[in-house]
Amino acid sequence: MPALHALSLFVRWAHVAGMAAILGGALLVWWLSLPRNRANDGMVVHVAERYEWIFWAAIGLQVMTGVGNLGAFGDALPASASGWGTKLIVKLVAVLALAVVSVPRTLVVVTMAGEERPRPGLLSALYGGTTAIVVGIAGLAVWLSHG
């Protein structure tokens, strides 16, 4: 296998793995914070705090590998006026929105951990919202990968 082809494959793998970490983690914290699961509130905040590290590392990785994936198209990158281009623009705007709404979520988790006053209802709303946005982005990514 040529070295560049292996690198391109690795970049795609890292992009998918990063997305899996973001979605899986958000889903886990949302599920743990639901009242019916009766998880220890302090433990949920601790898991959320760990997740925030993973989330931001994965966001950096997603941007890095996402640009790499676009570069792999070379001159064959479809124009922005095409149907594919419109989907890509919507996906990029959704990624920007995810980044913007994630800053207050991280700050809320940090504050809760510092004050040692967990608010499971708030965590549930924040991680439920994050999961919904990430599912939307993942759906767009699958749609884009199928042309």
Partner: protein
């Protein structure tokens, strides 16, 4: 133990905001370049390894710059230093970040050109980077530093509103 945990939380805030700045900058740039049709030519002139190295450099310098801006500014209760101090720090550190990134950019492009045997271009490029490039990078970094500190402050205000909302209280 509590102090260690607090330091760890401050590190998380610095890492989150630094990554947020670098990621938003690149995604917004890609969005504008793609919409205007300039992305293809830019990406075709950049190898995958150089692209990965450039984003890593931007990520690293931006997290470092955020660390310098936020020293002592945020605690677990989101108390901040006076707004003037934060803006001053953000502007200066944004400018320094611009120059630091330019240094990495120069290094990565120099290695790439040297590997292609273009040593003359490396020497000329180093001269331009070290003079005009540094001034332009400082000014550009300063503008982005001010832009992102405004966004950060708006997001911190939004966070306070979420935490103060009676419905979210236990």
């Amino acid at each position: 133990m509590a102090e260690l945990a607090s330091r760890e939380r401050n590190r998380l805030v610095v890492f989150a905001l630094g990554t947020f700045h670098a990621a938003v900058l690149i995604v917004a740039l890609v969005l504008v370049l793609y919409a205007t049709g300039a992305l293809t030519s830019l990406l075709s002139g950049l190898s995958t390894i150089a692209g990965l190295a450039l984003f890593s450099a931007l990520w690293l310098t931006t997290v470092w710059s955020t660390h310098r801006t936020l020293r002592g500014a945020l605690t677990a209760t989101l108390r901040t230093l006076p707004v003037g101090t934060i803006i001053e720090r953000a502007a200066w550190n944004g400018g320094v970040n611009g120059v630091a990134f330019l240094a990495f950019l120069g290094l990565i492009l120099a290695i790439s050109s040297a590997l292609n045997g273009a040593l003359g271009i490396v020497a000329f490029g180093a001269l331009v980077f070290a003079t005009l490039g540094a001034v332009a990078a400082f000014l550009l970094g300063l503008v982005f530093g001010l832009l992102f500190v405004a966004i950060d402050m708006a997001l911190i205000t939004a966070t306070r509103a979420i935490l103060d909302d009676k419905k979210s209280r236990p």
